[in-house]
Symmetry: C2
Subunit: 336 residues, 2 copies
Amino acid sequence: MNGISMIQLAKELGLSVSTVSKALGDSHEISASTKKRVLELAKKYKYKPNPFASNLRKKKGKQIAVIIPDIVNNFFALAVDGIESVTMSKHYDTFIYLTHENLEREKAVLEHLESGLISGLIISVSTGREGYAHFQEFYEATKLPLVFFDRVPDLLQFPKVITNNYESSFDATVRLIKAGSKRPVLITTTEPMFTSMERRRGYQDALEKHGIVLTDEMIIHCSDDMDSNYTILRKIFSQKKRPDGIFASIEKYAITSYQVCKDLKLSIPKDVKVIGMTNLRTAALLNPSLSTLSQPAFDMGKEAAGLLIKMIEKKSYAAANDIIVLPNELTIRDSI
Amino acid sequence: MNGISMIQLAKELGLSVSTVSKALGDSHEISASTKKRVLELAKKYKYKPNPFASNLRKKKGKQIAVIIPDIVNNFFALAVDGIESVTMSKHYDTFIYLTHENLEREKAVLEHLESGLISGLIISVSTGREGYAHFQEFYEATKLPLVFFDRVPDLLQFPKVITNNYESSFDATVRLIKAGSKRPVLITTTEPMFTSMERRRGYQDALEKHGIVLTDEMIIHCSDDMDSNYTILRKIFSQKKRPDGIFASIEKYAITSYQVCKDLKLSIPKDVKVIGMTNLRTAALLNPSLSTLSQPAFDMGKEAAGLLIKMIEKKSYAAANDIIVLPNELTIRDSI
DNA sequence: GTTTTTTCCTATAACGTTTTCGTAAAAGCC
DNA sequence: GGCTTTTACGAAAACGTTATAGGAAAAAAC
C-alpha cells in the first residue's frame, strides 16, 4: 500500500517498467549489470511486488485454502500444522475455513472460492456420502487442483491422503476382544463418511473373525453435539446388559465415553475397556490412561500440501486418483 | 478463472462495463430496471467479481491474517475458531501463519505481509519484550490496522484483547495456599512475555499477602521443548525439599507437571497440588481431574476480529490504545 | 419555451504487474 | 564489409475491476 511500486523503481533507474519486471524475475533477457542495479534499488526501498496486480496479470497466485470441519480438535489442528509447515516453506499463503460439520457452510465456502482467490484447495469433508456434488461443481467451474485428506469423498476421483482405517480398526477391535471384551461396541457418526465406513468394516470383520455376533445395538451413532451424545451413551451404559468394550472412532466420543463411565462409576478397564481414535496429547494422563488409535495428522497435512503444491506448479501432474495411505498408530495403555 | 467477467456480462446486456459495475454495486446512479437485468444475468452465469482486480483497483481487500505461535494448543485453536466465526460472517478471508515461538519466523511473516496482501492483522506474539520493533515497523510501512490478543506487546500502543491475568493468577495462587500448599511454585516461560509477567505478579502478590517468602527456586522457567521441560521439572520434584504446589501458567507445563508427578509417584493433590492455566477439554478427565484457570479463548478471538474489522471498515476509529479485558475462569477440581 | 436540475448511462483512466512483440546495437560469421 | 544472429532493452497491451468526469435525455422549474 504505502510501499514503492515498480514504476517508481523504473523511473529512478532510468529504465522501463518491463525491464525492471524482467530483472526482478531474473529473466535471461536482462544483463547481469542491470539486474544488479535493479535488485539493489529494490532492496534499498524494500520493494514488494503487489500481489493483486501480479495475480491478476498471471491469473494465479500463491494462495491456497484449507477447509476443515473443526480446528478445536487435535487431529485437524495437527493437520493444519503440517499443511502450514509446507506452505510456509514454499512461500504460499494459507486461508482457513471452518465448516463446523455444516454442509451449507461448506457449500458457501466453495462457492465463494470460485471467485479465483486461490490456486488450490485442501479439504476434509464435513458430511456424508450424499453431499459430494459441490466438490465436482467447484472443480468443473475452476479446474483448480484440490486434495482431500482423512475425510475424503470416496466416490469422486481426486487425489487423497488417508490412513489405513480398515486395517487399524480391525487391529484395535481385536485388541479389545483379546483383552477380554465379549461385546465391544463401536461408537461412530450418524453421517455416513468414508472414514467411518472403513473403520466400521474393520470393526465388523474383527468381530466376525472372533465369532462375535454383531447386533444393531452394538453400533452406536453419535452426532457433533456433545450433550446429546452424553445422553445417548449414558442411557446405553445404564442398561443392565451394557457393553463391556468401546471402540470410539472419533476423538470427542472417547472423551464422552470416559465422562459417562466416570459418572456411572463404571471402572475402566475392569467394567469397560476403551480404545479411542484420537490424537489427544493428554491421552496418557487420563484416568486411566487411554489406549489410542492415533492418526499421523501432521504428516497427513504435510503430504496433502505437498501434493497440492506439486499439482499447482505442475512439476508433476498428480494423477487424479493419486491416493496416499499413511498408517495409524495403536498405543495400548491402561484402558484395556 | 474459468468464470465469466464483467466485460462479458456488459456485452451480452448491451451495457457498458461501468454501468454493470455500478449496478452490481447497487449504485444510485443506476435505474432499478437495469439493476434487475444485470443482477439476473450475473446470477444466471454465477458471476463472481475477480478479487485481484477488485483489490488492485480499490487498494484493499477483504482478507486478514492471523499470526499465532501454535495451533496445536487448545487456547489458540479456540481463538482461531472465534476469529473465524466473525470473519466468516463478515465475508472476510482469513490467512493463518504459525510462528512456533520463533521470532525470525514472525519477522519473516510480517515482512511478507508488507506486500499489502491483507487489510488487517491479528497477532499473538511469539516472544519476549525485546522483540517488538518489527510490529512498529510493519505498522509504519503499511498503516494497516492490527490487533493483538493474549500475548500482547505491552510497550506498544495498539488495540489489544487480554484477560485479567494478574487478578486471576492471584486468585488461583490463593486457592493453592488455602488448599494447604506451603510452598507453591510458578512454572513460567523463559521468554519474558507480558502475560507471564502479569501472571507472575499475581502469583507473587498472593504469596506476599499470605506471608510466604518467595525464593528464586520457586519460579521455574520452562521453554517450548517438552523434553527439556520434563527434565527440568523431574529434577526439581526429585529433590528432598520439593514443592508442594504448582501453578502452571502455560497449558503444556500443566501436562508435563502431571507426567512428572505420575512418573515420580507423587500423589496429586496429597503431595502436590496443581492448578493449570489451560483450556484443555480433557482437564476434567485427567487423573486426578485438573483444576484449571482457563481463558475465554473463543471470545478473545471474536473480540479481536470484531475490533479489527471495525477498524478496517472505519465504522469506528478504534483508539490505538483500545484494550478489551475479559475474565479468566477458575475451575476447582480434584487436583488441589 | 427556455433554463435548470435530475436521472441514467458511457468513455476513459487508473490500479501494478507480466508478457508479447519489436528493434536498436553489439557480436559473430564468411 | 555485408550478412545474420544474439543481446538487451522498451512500447504497449492485457488482466478485470472501480472511480472520475462528462453528457444526452428526461423531468422539473420558472
